[in-house]
């Protein structure tokens, strides 16, 4: 139970898809001009992630990873099909997005019209594929955790786009230097928000284990570097697993 709670908050705040790993930036920047559309897209992303991550977890577990085909019989135990994961993951995602599109069109034509071109774009939203690939590389253990991870990363993305849309609605009334208007200032605001979200890194250790003599900012930096190291180690072990 505790690991579920930990993964949930970690995926929303610390490993936030937008601020920590820059996934789904294109739609994040393109669709964040109005809060209402941002909410629609965010909800769609949560839903698609919640469906595709567990599905891809099953694919990974029973089809792709090293020795996953053992359930077919001992002669298949040596197969490692993980090089196929990109194509299978993206196929799952494209299918699911098509399905979501059909469902939304049937049940909520208003939302369908307001989302317009952006629904098919979810298929090429890196956040969705990134969710599945991180699920694979971080070696998430059970189907329940995979579902949890999908939902939580979706919520993190939703929060991010909601916040930036609200800020962009307000910033229209501010006097931003002309060349920085629009895209430039959005980038810089996102950078500042990312700095804010980095402080959530302290949630992992409770902030107590950081050296006492260090100032607060450096303590946070240390936390961040620790987390990055951890992520790197994860990918290393994953790559080692591949190359065994």
């Amino acid at each position: 139970m505790l690991e579920h709670v930990e993964l949930f908050f970690k995926s929303i705040f610390i490993d936030n898809m937008v601020f920590a790993t820059f996934l789904g930036m294109c739609s994040y920047l393109a669709v964040s001009k109005k809060v209402t559309t941002a909410v629609g897209l965010g909800a769609a992303v949560i839903f698609v992630l919640a469906v595709t991550v567990p599905m891809n977890w099953l694919l990974d577990q029973y089809l792709l990873r090293d020795g996953a085909l053992a359930w077919l019989g001992p002669e298949y135990a040596d197969y490692n099909l993980s090089f196929l994961s990109f194509i299978l993951f993206i196929a799952t995602i494209a299918t699911m997005v098509q399905l979501v599109e059909i469902v939304v069109e049937k049940f909520s034509p208003a939302l369908y019209n307001s989302l317009g071109i952006f629904l098919p774009l979810i298929a090429v939203n890196c956040a969705i594929l990134g969710g599945s690939l991180f699920m694979q590389s971080r070696d998430i253990q059970t189907l329940g955790l995979a579902f949890n991870y999908g939902v939580a990363s979706g919520i993190g993305w939703f929060l991010a786009i909601l916040a930036i849309a609200a800020i962009r609605e307000k910033i229209r009334y501010s006097n931003v230097p002309a060349p920085l208007r629009g895209l430039g200032i959005t980038f810089i605001i996102t950078g500042l928000m990312a700095i804010g979200f980095m402080s959530f890194g302290g949630m992992l250790t409770g902030g107590d284990e950081a050296p006492k003599e260090a100032t607060e900012t450096t303590a946070q930096k240390v936390e961040e570097i620790k987390i990055e190291k951890e992520a790197k180690e994860n990918t290393v072990s994953y790559n080692n697993a591949i190359n065994k």
């Binding site: 601020f19 820059f22 294109c26 090089f83 090429v124 430039g184 980038f187 996102t190």
Partner: protein
């Protein structure tokens, strides 16, 4: 007959500056930000995208008359995914360390919006040679931003370029470190990537007023 007509040169040169995929079209941002802490990773990523986009544009352009428009996204994704698998396997075979640094971001080339964007906007309506040039041009424009961001982040963040200590040795206090310079470790963290790109956009738009947005 010249190899490149004037229009063809435009296809390559426009995306480098005034129609840059990252700063103007807002495509392909994710990978541009995530892997630019080192210059080497940026360059490899740029070359990978160059390969995938150049070849993918040709393939899609050759198939453009036989793809039913309803399922074109899936067809495009399959073409990209196949090319990316090639890149991924080549990287794993010949540059294993680097493929670890890039981690999932090689796979994320599939969902790099530049690629889908160029397929949709160009390859579906133009011949193979033009599409090839367009792909090369856009990938080069993308790579240019990547290299600029990677250059500044690595230089200011760790004082190295491509792994060479260009600013001197921070521990032995040689070179610029002798006068009290310190590496700005913050440049290596993710928020600075966003801010550096924001600054590039600022510079670009102050030089070319026509690009300034309403708000």
């Amino acid at each position: 007959m010249a190899l490149l007509s004037k229009k063809d040169t435009g296809l390559i040169l426009d995306p480098l500056a005034d129609n840059n995929p990252i700063t103007i079209q807002v495509l392909g941002i994710c990978s541009a930000l995530a892997i630019t802490a080192e210059l080497k990773a940026s360059i490899v990523m740029a070359i990978s995208v160059l390969f995938v986009l150049g070849l993918g544009n040709v393939v899609i352009s050759l198939m453009r008359n036989i793809i039913p428009s309803k399922i074109r996204i899936i067809v495009q994704l399959v073409v990209v995914a196949a090319l990316v698998i090639i890149v991924d396997q080549v990287l794993k075979a010949f540059a294993y360390e680097l493929s670890k640094t890039l981690s999932v971001f090689v796979g994320l080339i599939i969902t790099n919006c530049i690629i889908m964007g160029r397929f949709e906007a160009f390859a579906l309506g133009n011949g193979p040679w033009k599409s090839f040039l367009d792909g090369i041009g856009n990938a080069a424009g993308y790579g240019l931003i990547l290299v600029i961001v990677g250059f500044f982040r690595e230089l200011l963040g760790s004082g190295t370029l491509l792994g060479f200590k260009v600013l001197g040795d921070p521990i032995a206090k040689t070179g610029i470190y002798a006068i009290g310079y310190e590496n700005n470790g913050f440049m290596l963290l993710s928020p600075m990537a966003l801010i550096v790109v924001g600054l590039i956009i600022w510079v670009q738009r102050s030089r070319n007023k026509a690009l300034i947005e309403e708000n």
